[in-house]
């Protein structure tokens, strides 16, 4: 009985130490990637290639998701607001919901699922096939050559994707609200214009997506770099990337929302 309890306490301590060690490794890893940037010409070429792989190739899923979420928001919003005779406020509801919350959060979740998992698998496979080791032995630091451009590309791509998500969502909401359900177009756009502030809503949404982009990409590249170099290791790392990124995004969203919009 006492031994079982001690084992559990020891297990907890071991788990805590392992988590701390992993956080330490992730921080050193991040420092190594941030302090070194490849030569300007080479670095730009690598960065553009990664922005294409991470950002441009995520456009399809972001646009389609944004469209449907905007349309669903319009349907739900119309049903609820029409009970109070306020269906004309549907534009501002959709815009504020997307710009403040759903745009950054859903884009980050989609990003973690599409680009994050791909990053982890790619880097994990490079590690498994000794490509990272061979780079090191050629005198090329993989943190600078492989990790830094991906980290920066994720940081740049996420806010752009989130803005595109929100714009497409607002347009989708207009399709359903105005074209289908018959809300007056002038009130849809007018109420939106009157209630959305650039400095508070748009900028805060961009700040959120910058934070999410950084955290999701950091988790993805670190999990790939630190994975056990086997097929099971890559599989586990890819799963961790999606789970950790999703939890981090939702947790950070609460904190950021409380700081940005909380009135306490």
């Amino acid at each position: 009985m006492a031994n079982g309890l001690m084992d559990r306490i020891a297990g907890l301590g071991r788990g805590g130490l392992e988590t701390l060690a992993s956080l330490g490794r992730a921080s050193i890893f991040l420092w190594g990637a941030l302090v070194g940037v490849p030569k300007p010409g080479v670095g730009l070429r690598l960065l553009l290639a990664q922005i294409y792989a991470i950002g441009v190739l995520s456009l399809a899923i972001v646009v389609v998701s944004g469209l449907f979420i905007g349309m669903v928001l319009a349907l739900q919003g119309y049903t609820i607001l029409s009970d109070f005779g306020s269906e004309s406020a549907i534009g501002q509801m959709i815009a504020l919901t997307l710009l403040r919350e759903l745009g950054p959060v859903v884009t980050a979740l989609l990003f973690a699922g599409r680009a994050g998992s791909a990053l982890t698998a790619e880097i994990g496979l490079m590690k498994t096939t000794e490509q990272l080791s061979s780079m090191e032995m050629m005198g090329v630091d993989p943190l600078r050559r492989v990790i830094a451009p991906r980290l920066l590309a994720g940081f740049i791509s996420m806010p752009v994707l989130a803005l595109i998500f929100s714009v497409v969502g607002i347009w989708g909401g207009m399709l359903v609200g105005v074209e289908w359900l018959g809300v007056f177009e002038g009130s849809y756009w007018g109420n939106m214009q009157a209630s959305v502030t650039f400095s508070k809503d748009v900028i805060n949404g961009i700040i959120k997506s910058l934070v999410f982009g950084f955290v999701c990409t950091w988790i993805a590249v670190y999990q790939g770099y630190d994975c056990v170099p086997t097929s099971a290791g890559i599989s586990s790392a890819t799963t961790k990337t999606v789970v950790y990124s999703s939890l981090a995004v939702l947790g950070l969203d609460f904190v950021l929302t409380a700081v940005m919009f909380g009135s306490f």
Partner: protein, 293 residues
């Protein structure tokens, strides 16, 4: 010019190597390395001569690849000294270590080609990163290196289109792209057919001679390794159990060395994994092995 290997003194093996400490390119002194609870090296001391092929052999899992990673600075020993051309590798800073690595090459067991780059671009990679050479000059160098390994015609292929032997030859061309002073080969013959193996043996020997390289060859393919090595050592149980010229190793008194060299299934390394006494093990399951028991 007379090859140094033909010098009678060279044939005296280790004693000569020990005498030629100024000629050693790599020296390990009392290196201890532990991974987890397992001690991989327990005071390994080794001197690798400059301009020669040194074969490091030993059973699987004895840390031969780990030794290469220690020499390349990818791992740090718990204690002891590792010097490459006079540089204390574990003590080097990040920048100095990467600069030193530009003078080294390592051929990985898998080839480790970049799968998203063509054969040409793989070989051109270190040149593009480390030199300011114009594209036309890089092209000529890459084609020369590919010609040296017999694959100039495969320049446009992708790594997925290459056989195992071709992959290693391309990796070898990439390794010599910057004309290194040292090449470390990690199991270059593993899984190769006889022709590919013959090609690799020829290339390793020729490159060592023509480029004046120091070569370290990690392998458990005894005949191929001893056929090209000037000096060889066998690692087991975290230490060196035999070293010398190939002839000296063949006549080594250690049973363990002889078991390894002749591939005997039983000997100091037992055929059976440690198990309970057979008399008590046959004829029924132990209580803890009974399903649900």
């Amino acid at each position: 010019m007379r090859d140094r290997c033909d010098h009678p003194g060279w044939r005296r093996g280790r004693s000569l190597v020990a005498d030629m400490s100024d000629r050693s390119y790599i020296s390990l002194d009392n290196v201890v390395f532990t991974r987890g609870q397992r001690r991989i090296f327990d005071g390994v001391t080794l001197s690798i001569p400059r301009g020669r092929i040194t074969a490091i052999m030993g059973p699987s899992g004895t840390g031969k690849t780990t030794l290469l990673r220690l020499i390349g600075g990818q791992l740090k020993p718990d204690s002891g000294s590792i010097r490459v051309d006079g540089n204390d590798v574990p003590g080097l800073g990040r920048k100095a270590l990467y600069t030193l690595r530009e003078r080294m090459g390592m051929l990985f067991q898998s080839g480790a080609l970049f799968t998203d780059l063509s054969v040409f671009e793989n070989v051109a990679f270190p040149l593009r990163v480390h030199t300011p050479l114009p594209d036309d000059m890089i092209r000529d160098i890459v084609l020369m290196k590919l010609e040296a390994v017999g694959l100039r015609g495969a320049r446009d292929l992708m790594p997925a289109e290459l056989s195992g032997g071709m992959t290693r030859r391309v990796a070898l061309a990439r390794t010599i792209a910057l004309d290194p002073e040292l090449i470390m080969y990690d199991e270059p013959f593993a899984g190769q057919d006889p022709i590919a193996m013959g090609v690799l043996v020829k290339l390793i020997r020729e490159l060592n001679t023509t480029m004046g390289l120091t070569s370290v060859l990690v392998s458990h393919d005894v005949p191929e390794s001893l056929s090209i090595a000037h000096y060889a050592c066998i690692i087991a149980d975290g230490r060196i159990i035999g070293e010398g010229t190939p002839d000296e190793l063949r006549n080594h008194p250690s049973e363990r060395v002889q078991q390894f060299l002749h591939g005997q299934p039983d000997g100091p390394v037992p055929f059976h994994y440690p198990a309970p006494d057979p008399d008590s093990d046959w004829g029924g399951l132990a209580p803890e092995e009974v399903p649900g028991g």
